[in-house]
C-alpha cells in the first residue's frame, strides 16, 4: 500500500483519542505516586469498577449519562478511600519507597487487583456488557470518522485535567495536597491533617480512573478483565510523562496512544501491546525521569 498522509493523519487522531483515556488513568497513578510514594498496581481494577458503576447507574437505574459519570466517580472515589484506609495505610505507615515494605506494597497491589477482579466477577459475571449511549452521528473530517464518544472523552478529560490543575494550584485544599505530596513530615508540622489528605488524594485518583472507565465504556463495552491492559498502558503513559508529573501523565498517554497506533498500522498489528511496553522500557532505561521532565518527582 502506498503511503498516504490522509491515513497517517487518521492514525494519529485515533492515537490521540485513545491516548487521553490512558492519560486519565495515568493521572491517577501519578497522583497516588506523588501523594503516597507507591505505585498502585490495582488501579486498573478501580477503573473497571468505575466503568461498572457507571453502567449500573446509567442502565439499570436509568440515570442520565453525565450524572452517571459523576456518580461513578464519587462511588469509585469512596471505594478508593476505603481501600486506602483499610489496607494501604498500614503499609505506608511502615514506610513506602524502596524498603522491604515498598516491595510489600507492590505485592499487596497485585493481591488487591486479583481480589477486586474476582469480586467484580462474582457481582457482574465474566461477560462483556454493552454500554450503548446514543450520541448521534460520528464527526466526519475528510474521510475520517470520529465517533462522538471519543470527542466527548477528549473534552471531558481535558476539562477534568483543567479542574484538577485549578484545584491544586489555586485552592487552599489544593495547596495542602501539594504540601503533603512534597513532604509529609513538614506538612504535619504545618498543621495539615496528613492522613485525611492522603485519603483525599487516593479518592481523587480513583475518581479519575472511574471517569476514564465510564467514558470508554460506550466504545469498548464493559468487562471484568478490562482493567489489566489499561493499567499497563497507563503505567507506560505515566512513565513516559515522568512519574509524578500531572501534565506529563496526560501528554504521556497521548504519546503512548499515537505510538501504538502507528506501530499497529505500519509495523505489525498483532504486536500492538508490546509497543507500549517497549516505550515504557526504553524511557525507563534512557531517561527514568520521563521525556518531559516537568515537575517530575523522582526519588532514588
Amino acid at each position: 500500500m502506498e503511503f498516504d498522509f490522509n491515513s497517517l493523519f487518521a492514525f494519529i487522531i485515533f492515537g490521540v483519542t485513545i491516548g487521553v483515556v490512558y492519560g486519565m488513568v495515568a493521572l491517577g497513578i501519578s497522583l497516588i505516586y506523588s501523594g503516597l510514594d507507591i505505585v498502585h498496581f490495582a488501579h486498573g481494577e478501580i477503573y473497571m469498577f468505575g466503568a461498572f458503576f457507571g453502567l449500573v447507574l446509567a442502565k439499570d437505574m436509568s440515570i442520565p449519562y453525565p450524572a452517571a459519570l459523576i456518580g461513578a466517580m464519587i462511588l469509585a472515589g469512596l471505594m478508593g478511600m476505603l481501600i486506602e484506609r483499610v489496607f494501604y495505610r498500614r503499609l505506608t505507615r511502615s514506610g513506602g519507597g524502596y524498603t522491604v515494605a515498598g516491595m510489600g506494597m507492590i505485592i499487596c497491589g497485585f493481591g488487591m487487583s486479583v481480589a477486586l477482579m474476582n469480586v467484580a466477577f462474582l457481582i457482574w459475571g465474566a461477560d462483556a456488557e454493552p454500554f450503548s449511549i446514543d450520541l448521534g452521528m460520528p464527526l466526519q473530517i475528510a474521510d475520517i470518522y470520529i465517533p462522538q464518544s471519543y470527542l466527548l472523552t477528549a473534552v471531558v478529560s481535558f476539562a477534568l485535567m483543567g479542574l484538577l490543575h485549578f484545584f491544586l494550584k489555586y485552592t487552599k485544599i489544593g495547596l495542602a495536597v501539594r504540601a503533603v505530596a512534597q513532604n509529609k513530615d513538614i506538612a504535619y508540622l504545618m498543621g495539615i491533617n496528613v492522613p485525611v489528605f492522603i485519603s483525599l488524594i487516593f479518592g481523587l485518583a480513583c475518581a479519575l480512573a472511574a471517569a476514564a472507565g465510564v467514558l470508554i465504556g460506550p466504545m469498548q463495552s464493559v468487562q471484568v478483565e478490562m482493567g489489566y491492559l489499561m493499567l499497563m498502558k497507563a503505567f507506560a503513559a505515566a512513565v513516559v510523562g515522568g512519574f509524578g508529573s500531572l501534565p506529563g501523565a496526560l501528554l504521556g498517554g497521548i504519546l503512548v496512544g499515537i505510538f501504538e497506533n502507528l506501530g499497529a498500522a505500519y509495523i505489525s498489528p498483532s504486536h500492538k501491546d508490546i509497543y507500549a511496553f517497549l516505550l515504557l522500557i526504553l524511557v525507563l532505561m534512557i531517561r527514568p525521569s520521563g521525556l518531559f521532565g516537568i515537575e517530575a518527582k523522582v526519588k532514588a
Binding site: S7, A10, A126, D127, A128, P130, S270
Partner: protein, 400 residues
C-alpha cells in the same frame, strides 16, 4: 497451638483419603472439564449436569447411575491437563467430556490416548484435534475445516472476491481465518485484500477499519471470540464502512454476546455454525423452549445444542456398551464405551446434520458432524433473531 496443628493435619489427611475413596464401583463415572468463566459457559455446564441428573432420575443407564464431576479449566491448557489427570487417575472416570477450548482439548487428547480413556469433545473446532490420530477421541461439533468450505462457497457466489480479514490470535479464530483464506484461494483463486492479525482481546480496530475502507472491499471476515468480534463489528460501522460491505463471522459469531454487544451492527452478519435457533424442526423448537425456560436465556446457540447432542450420544453409547463396572474392569469398560461411541451411526439430533463415528482413528471417522449451516443475523440486541441461509453436508474428507 501444637494440638490445633495436629488436628488440622488429620483433617487434611482424612479429606484426601475420602476423596480417593469416592472411586467406587457400580456407577458410571463421567468427568467433564470446561471453560466455566463466561455466563453461557456456566449455563451449559449446568445443562450438561441437569441432563445427566434427568437420566439418573429416569432409572439411569441399564440400572446404573451416572456420577458426573464437573471441573473448570478456565481455557488454560495446564489447568485442563491437571483436571484430566485428576479425573482419570483419582476419580477413575470411564469417559471424559471436554474441553470446550481447542487449546485445552489438544493436550488432553494426548493424555486420554495414553491413559486409554474415551474423550468426547463438545465444541472445539480446531482441525488438529482429530488429526493427531488418537483412537480415543470423538468430536461432536463441526470441524473448522467444514465451516471454511461453506463460507468460501457462499462468499464467492454471492458477495465477491475482495475480502479483508481480521483474525484474532486465539486458537479457534486463527484456525477459521487460515482455513477461510485457503478455501477462497482454492475455490475461487482469490487472494486476501488485507489481513490483520490482532490480539486475542483487542479493543481498538479503527486503524484496520481505516485501511480496509481505503482498500475498498466486498466483504470483511472477522474471526475472533465473541466479545472481540462484537467490538470489531461496531467499530467497522463507526469507521464509515457501509452496510453494502458484508461482514462474515467465524463460528463464534453464534455466541449470544455478539448480538448483545454489537446491537444493530450485527444485522446482516453471516457465519457457519452447527445450529440456529431459527431452525423450524419440532425437536429444535422444543429445545429452544426448554433452554429458554430452564436457563432464562433468549435463545440457545450452537454451544448449547452441541452439549445437548453430546449427552444424547453418550446416553446411546452407554446403553449399548457392555460394561461390568467393577473396580477390576475399569480398563475393559473404558474400551467398551469407546467402541460403543464409535458404533454410532446417523444420530439425528439438534445438530444440523446426522452425526456418525467409526472406529478408524482418523479425522474422517472422528469428526462427527459434517453439516455446517449458514446463518445470518436479522436483528441485533438481547432479543436477537437469525435466519438460515443454507445447509450443506460436506464430503467427509473435505479440507484435509
Amino acid at each position: 497451638m501444637k494440638k490445633g496443628n495436629k488436628i488440622i493435619s488429620i483433617f487434611v489427611l482424612a479429606g484426601m483419603i475420602l476423596s480417593a475413596a469416592s472411586a467406587l464401583a457400580g456407577e458410571i463415572r463421567i468427568g467433564i472439564t470446561m471453560r466455566m468463566v463466561s455466563e453461557n459457559g456456566q449455563k451449559y455446564g449446568q445443562m450438561v449436569m441437569d441432563e445427566i441428573d434427568l437420566i439418573n432420575q429416569a432409572g439411569g443407564i441399564n440400572g446404573n447411575q451416572i456420577k458426573a464431576t464437573l471441573m473448570n479449566d478456565e481455557c488454560k491448557s495446564d489447568k485442563g491437563v491437571a483436571n484430566a489427570n485428576k479425573l482419570i487417575f483419582q476419580n477413575k472416570i470411564h469417559l471424559l467430556i471436554g474441553s470446550t477450548c481447542s487449546s485445552v482439548s489438544l493436550p488432553i487428547v494426548d493424555v486420554t490416548a495414553k491413559a486409554e480413556v474415551p474423550q468426547i469433545i463438545p465444541h472445539s473446532t480446531n482441525g488438529k484435534i482429530t488429526q493427531k490420530g488418537s483412537a480415543w477421541v470423538f468430536r461432536v461439533p463441526v470441524s473448522g475445516r467444514y465451516y471454511a468450505g461453506v463460507n468460501a462457497k457462499y462468499v464467492g457466489e454471492n458477495i465477491g472476491m475482495k475480502i479483508a480479514y481480521i483474525c484474532a490470535a486465539d486458537a479457534a479464530s486463527q484456525n477459521d481465518c487460515d482455513a477461510m483464506q485457503k478455501q477462497m484461494r482454492m475455490q475461487h483463486g482469490a487472494e486476501p485484500v488485507y489481513v490483520a492479525q490482532v490480539q486475542e482481546k483487542e479493543v481498538d480496530f479503527r486503524t484496520h477499519m481505516q485501511k480496509i475502507k481505503s482498500a475498498g472491499v466486498d466483504g470483511i471476515m472477522v474471526a475472533a471470540l465473541a466479545e472481540t468480534m462484537a467490538r470489531a463489528l461496531v467499530q467497522s460501522y463507526e469507521a464509515g464502512i457501509g452496510p453494502d460491505v458484508r461482514r462474515i463471522g467465524s463460528s463464534s459469531a453464534s455466541n449470544a454476546p455478539v448480538p448483545k454487544i454489537a446491537g444493530d451492527a450485527v444485522k446482516g452478519v453471516f457465519y457457519a455454525a452447527a445450529y440456529s435457533d431459527a431452525d423450524t424442526r419440532p425437536v429444535a423448537r422444543l429445545f429452544n423452549e426448554m433452554v429458554r425456560k430452564r436457563y432464562g436465556i433468549h435463545a440457545p446457540d450452537h454451544d448449547f445444542s452441541q452439549a445437548y447432542d453430546l449427552i444424547r450420544i453418550v446416553e446411546i453409547a452407554l446403553n449399548n456398551a457392555k460394561v461390568s463396572l467393577t473396580s477390576s474392569s475399569l480398563k475393559a469398560d473404558r474400551a467398551a464405551i469407546r467402541d460403543a461411541i464409535a458404533g454410532i451411526r446417523n444420530y439425528q439430533g439438534l445438530a444440523s446434520g446426522p452425526i456418525s463415528f467409526c472406529s478408524d482413528p482418523s479425522p474422517v471417522c472422528r469428526d462427527g458432524n459434517k453439516t455446517p449451516v449458514l446463518i445470518a443475523y436479522t436483528k441485533g440486541g438481547e432479543q436477537y433473531e437469525t435466519e438460515i441461509l443454507a445447509r450443506v453436508t460436506m464430503p467427509i474428507d473435505f479440507g484435509l
